[in-house]
């Protein structure tokens, strides 16, 4: 059956289970946009900036575990995707980016809207391809989607010229593709697993550090079994939040620069770290030479290159987390660590990270706690980047996996709003809250139009403190309050929401926080709340750069400094 390249692309995507494409059209994509209506199984969401398309595909993928697809035209459309692709790369999210390209005869001639996007995205994609022949589209799509979703997930890009979309060829769906160089290791080496089991069975002060790999591998029951059988405290990384229910008695928060003091202390004093699906990012470890000085390290990860990259491992185990834990759990002996756990409990009471102090103004931490109470924790929280992001991690309790959508590795401001679009479309029956600061919100604010056009029931909370909060905090604590380039002139966000046809309310008094949240929850459709919050609030604990993670600064208390 002779089909055009555009038809072949659509049919391959449908066969791979793709249901949604986040896109923005352009000249070279006209043949594809003329073909998409013939395939109603592919829902097209028109965004307002290609960065929004990439972040929406990212949010969709994080929440559903399926691949997120974004589509942009050549030249500026493609380059606008770059930030979103880089974000997906650093957080290991499966995203397929399809970019149109100028006609094959124009390639390399600096044609109108031509850009070498394949070259530009080499460092931020797992795999990419410029498809020069219509007959290659089907196998390119299959290869790209397979690579994006398997092993350590990541973004892939297909660059398809206009005439390749238009030309016709015989279409046979490739049931088999050949990737001789790509064989992700799925099962850990049995002798390594045995070594790890022996260490776990004899450790005195073990700690599990669980990262996003547990979410990707869907290894929630296995992690729970490991923790409960051996009675080991579980600390997560920032992106691992939710992989272990935070209401569980063995849950001890998350570690790192803004993590819980007691989590940092536990890791620092442990004699065995079981690192599962995490990569010892510098935000989590602090200074690497002083990290966990007394601990032996078991490092379980599907990416061999991560093992030994930042921190060397005593027992490296390469493979899929779920598979490895299933084998490991069978070799564990039932143990107790009553003294060690009570030490952690004591640290938790000395360094509570989730107390909200009494204050007459609106505190961001208070807002987040109120959202938790109003939703009973049964919601997906998408955040932007900055202080509010850290507070969202600290003051909300996550019991559901994949309910925390946040840009960790790249820390992209503007991620929150479009990611919440992807999350809502991926999980239409879940409540979706989008938490943004006034700075990040304005980077992708145009996606309010997407929300209005698709009528997505997303609750948007804008934390307006009139500053680029996180940068201001560093300028206060490290640069002696030399505030420069951080004070924001802001518009009336409620008026802007209303201009987009989205209902909104402004909250300036503490007493109005709860009713506003209630109103948004009972409103059917998108709703924006602008919270005018305490302007110069700092995120604590804070481990200054290069310090040991136990050298965290704490909220200065009224009675005197509680710094350790």
């Amino acid at each position: 059956m002779m089909k055009t390249g555009a038809e072949i692309l659509c049919e391959c995507l449908i066969k791979e289970g793709v249901e949604v494409i986040f896109g923005f059209p352009g000249g070279v994509l006209l043949p594809l946009y003329d073909t998409l209506p013939k395939y109603p199984e592919l829902r097209h969401i028109l965004v307002r900036h290609e960065q929004g398309a990439a972040h929406a595909a990212d949010g969709y993928a994080r929440v559903t575990g399926k691949i997120g697809v974004c589509l942009a035209t050549s030249g500026p459309g493609a380059t606008n995707l770059v930030t979103g692709i880089a974000n997906a790369y650093l957080d290991s999210v499966p995203v397929l980016a399809i970019t149109g390209q100028v006609n094959t005869s124009f390639i390399g001639k600096d044609a109108f809207q031509e850009i070498d996007i394949t070259g530009i995205t080499v460092p931020i994609t797992k795999y990419n391809q410029l498809v020069l022949d219509t007959g290659d589209i089907a196998s390119a799509v299959r290869e790209a989607i397979h690579v994006a979703q398997t092993g350590r997930p990541g973004p892939v890009l297909l660059d398809i010229p206009k005439d390749v979309f238009q030309n016709k060829t015989e279409f046979i769906f490739p049931e088999k593709i050949d990737l001789p160089g790509y064989k992700p290791k799925l099962f850990g080496h049995p002798s390594q697993i045995k070594k790890a089991a022996d260490l776990i069975n004899s450790a005195e002060r073990p700690v599990i550090i669980a990262g996003r790999g547990v979410n990707i591998s869907l290894a929630f029951p296995e992690l729970k079994e490991l923790a409960e059988k051996s009675q080991i405290p579980v600390v997560t990384t920032f992106l691992g939040i939710g992989c272990f229910p935070e209401s569980h008695v063995l849950s001890y928060g998350w570690l790192g620069m803004h993590g819980m003091g007691y989590a940092n202390k536990a890791v620092h004093s442990s004699d065995l770290l079981i690192a599962i699906g995490m990569r010892f990012d510098d935000r989590a470890t602090g200074g690497t030479s002083t990290f966990a000085p007394q601990a032996q390290i078991v490092h379980i990860d599907i990416d061999a290159a991560e093992i030994g990259k930042n921190i060397s491992a005593d027992v490296p185990i390469v493979g899929d987390v779920k598979n490895i834990l299933q084998v490991l759990n069978k070799q564990l002996t039932k143990r107790e660590h009553i003294i060690w756990l009570s030490q952690l409990d004591e640290w938790r009471s000395l360094h509570p990270a989730t107390d909200i102090r009494e204050h007459e103004n609106v505190l961001p931490q208070y807002i987040i706690r109120q959202i938790h109470e109003a939703t009973k924790g049964d919601t997906i929280i998408c955040t932007d980047v900055g202080q509010h992001q850290m507070w969202a991690g600290q003051y909300f309790f996550y019991d559901k996996p994949n309910s925390f959508v946040s840009s960790g590795g790249l820390g992209t401001m503007g991620f929150g709003l479009p990611a919440s679009i992807g999350a809502k479309i991926g999980a239409p029956n879940e409540t979706v809250w989008c938490l943004c600061g006034d700075g990040g919100f304005q980077m992708t604010i145009q996606e309010l139009a997407t929300i209005a056009q698709e009528n997505l029931d997303i609750k948007i909370a804008v934390f307006n403190n009139g500053w680029l909060g996180m940068v201001r905090q560093w300028q206060e604590l490290i640069y002696s309050k030399r505030y420069f380039g951080t004070k924001l002139y802001n518009p009336d966000f409620v008026k802007i929401a209303e201009a987009y046809g989205i209902e909104g309310v402004r909250v300036t008094k503490k007493i109005d926080v709860k009713p506003a949240i209630q109103k948004s929850m009972s409103h059917k459709g998108p709703f924006l709340i602008e919270f005018v919050v305490e302007p110069e609030e700092n995120v604590y604990p804070f481990v200054p750069p290069g310090k040991i993670i136990v050298e965290f600064l704490e909220m200065p208390s009224p009675t005197g400094s509680r710094n350790k």
Binding site: G119, V122, N128, L130, K176, I177, Y182, P245, A305, K400
Partner: protein, 189 residues
């Protein structure tokens, strides 16, 4: 201990592969001495020989980062296997009637060849391991080198079948069958 390591890789012969490999090495700040790439006995595959300088841990990290690339089929560090390594150099050296015979003597000692003669220069072709080529170049520097072109090292491990030997009975393929996607519900407890 910082020393030179020889990494040999089997890669798919596709456009952009060389770019991706070079890009990975550059962004991770690895110290590259030379890269040589060429076709091999199997079509659509190439062999790359990369000489990296560093300590064992950082070279192993480089190897793993390159192994991660989809088009890289196999990559091994053969430094410790006492490999046979060779590189070729063409050296255009200044040669006057008075210096020519001395140059010819050096070329003979190094069992190399003169492939071109002109009134004021000679082109010498030499093959050997990196040390031999380095030494010859240094000796000729005294006479004045007009142009120098080196290929970079290629190397094979000694003995029988090695890590990059391709078994003709087991062709290099990894076939992935298409699996129809199942209806997945959201991950939950």
């Amino acid at each position: 201990m910082i020393r030179k390591h020889i990494l040999v890789a089997l890669v798919q012969d596709r456009p952009g592969v060389l770019n991706r490999i070079a890009s990975t090495l550059r962004r991770r700040n690895f110290n590259i001495d030379s890269i040589a790439v060429g076709s091999i006995e199997v079509p659509h595959l190439s062999r790359m020989t990369i000489v990296v300088e560093g300590d064992d841990a950082s070279v192993e990290q480089a190897r793993k980062q390159l192994d991660r690339i989809v088009e890289v089929i196999r990559i091994t560090d053969i430094t410790n296997e006492n490999p046979v390594s060779r590189e070729m150099a063409m050296i255009k050296v200044k040669a006057t009637p008075s210096t020519r015979s001395e140059i010819i003597q050096i070329v003979d000692i190094f069992r190399s060849n003169i492939v071109d003669v002109s009134p004021d220069s000679l082109i010498i072709v030499t093959t050997g391991n990196q040390e031999k080529v380095d030494t010859l170049v240094e000796l000729l520097r005294g006479f004045g080198i007009r142009e120098l072109s080196r290929t970079g090292t290629i190397a094979l491990p000694r003995g029988g079948a090695g890590p990059l030997t391709i078994d003709e009975h087991k062709p290099l393929r990894h076939v992935v069958e298409h699996v129809a996607p199942e209806e997945e519900t959201l991950p939950n407890w």
